[in-house]
């Protein structure tokens, strides 16, 4: 027997759309931040680990929290690498993209660390211009 078109609407509901989430726990923002702060806080971090960490972090679709950048800058201090510290500041500014208010906030939060470690911002060195 051919079902009339009308009847199709009275068919029982299809099983509710099932979501295909993986079953692993989603990391919270705080856990993410803590993980990265811990990574850069390693006392005997080496240059490669700093490089790998920063390049990976910059690869993410986010601007790192000030505390992560702070941890990375301190790692640069342990490695006696001022150039990389300045580079990190440039990189997070670049990551902010069109959101011009993120970088000043970052610098404001990092000011104590920058003064303590003697890191000049790219702006102070005149390197933010062509």
């Amino acid at each position: 027997m051919v079902r009339e078109r009308r009847d199709l609407y009275s068919l029982p509901d299809a099983p509710l759309a099932s979501r295909c989430y993986s079953h692993s726990k989603v990391e919270t923002d705080e856990e993410f931040d803590a993980r990265w702060v811990t990574y850069f806080s390693k006392p005997d971090i080496d240059a490669w680990e700093l490089k790998k960490g920063m390049n990976t972090l910059i690869g993410y679709d986010l601007v790192p929290e000030p505390k992560i950048v702070d941890s990375a800058l301190r790692a640069c201090r342990r490695l006696n690498d001022l150039a990389s510290a300045i580079r990190i500041l440039e990189a997070v500014k670049d990551k902010s993209g069109p959101h011009k208010d993120i970088y000043p906030y970052l610098i404001q939060e990092l000011k104590p660390t920058l003064t303590e470690l003697g890191i000049s911002t790219p702006e102070e060195l005149g390197m933010d211009k062509l």
Binding site: N55, S84, I86, E90, D94, G118, E124, L125
Partner: protein, 177 residues
């Protein structure tokens, strides 16, 4: 013969890509001996200025002279003791371009658009020459006389008399409506 030439083009393209990635200047200065070719040694860490890779695999300047070395020593102490020029010098030792420098706009688009217009112009000339020297003579059906007779024949046949061709002709006044 052909595959040899293609191989050379391929080599050229990869070379251009590699040169585009790095500047040849300091890279060559790191080698003590004279290189037979300036082919990039892909087994060594390579420097690159990329916004998505803030810390490249190796510093820009490898071979440090005495002043650079003493500056690097000073870097081990408190950074507040460094002057602005020294800090900039340390940056330039490790990196080639700053972020604004590596992201500076190029003028390449002008070359691209200009090249496009040049190609259009050249094509136009080719098409014009074609019209002159390649096309065969026009068929007689294009002539004024023939066209007039053709229209008259179509009207006589009452082509599309309701909505189309002949509908637009006023048969009484013998003119177009």
């Amino acid at each position: 013969m052909l595959h040899l030439k293609l191989g050379r083009v391929g080599c050229l393209l990869t070379r251009r890509a590699m040169v585009a990635l790095t500047d040849s200047g300091a890279r060559l200065s790191t080698h003590g001996h004279h290189e037979v070719s300036d082919q990039l040694d892909m087994s060594q860490p390579i420097y690159s200025d990329r916004p998505d890779t803030p810390l490249p695999d190796r510093p820009w300047k490898d071979v440090l002279d005495a002043t650079d070395k003493s500056l690097k020593q000073k870097e081990k102490g408190p950074w507040s003791a460094l002057s602005k020029e020294e800090k900039i010098a340390l940056y330039r030792l490790k990196f080639n371009h700053t972020y604004p420098e590596m992201k500076r706009p190029s003028q390449e688009w002008k070359t691209v658009i200009g090249g496009m217009f040049f190609v259009f112009g050249f094509t136009g000339l080719v098409v014009f020459w074609q019209g002159l020297y390649v096309y065969p003579p026009q068929p007689p059906t294009f002539g004024e006389d023939w066209q007039a007779k053709q229209v008259q024949r179509m009207l006589d046949m009452r082509i599309n008399p309701i909505e189309g061709f002949s509908a637009k002709w006023d048969y009484e006044k013998k003119q177009w409506k």
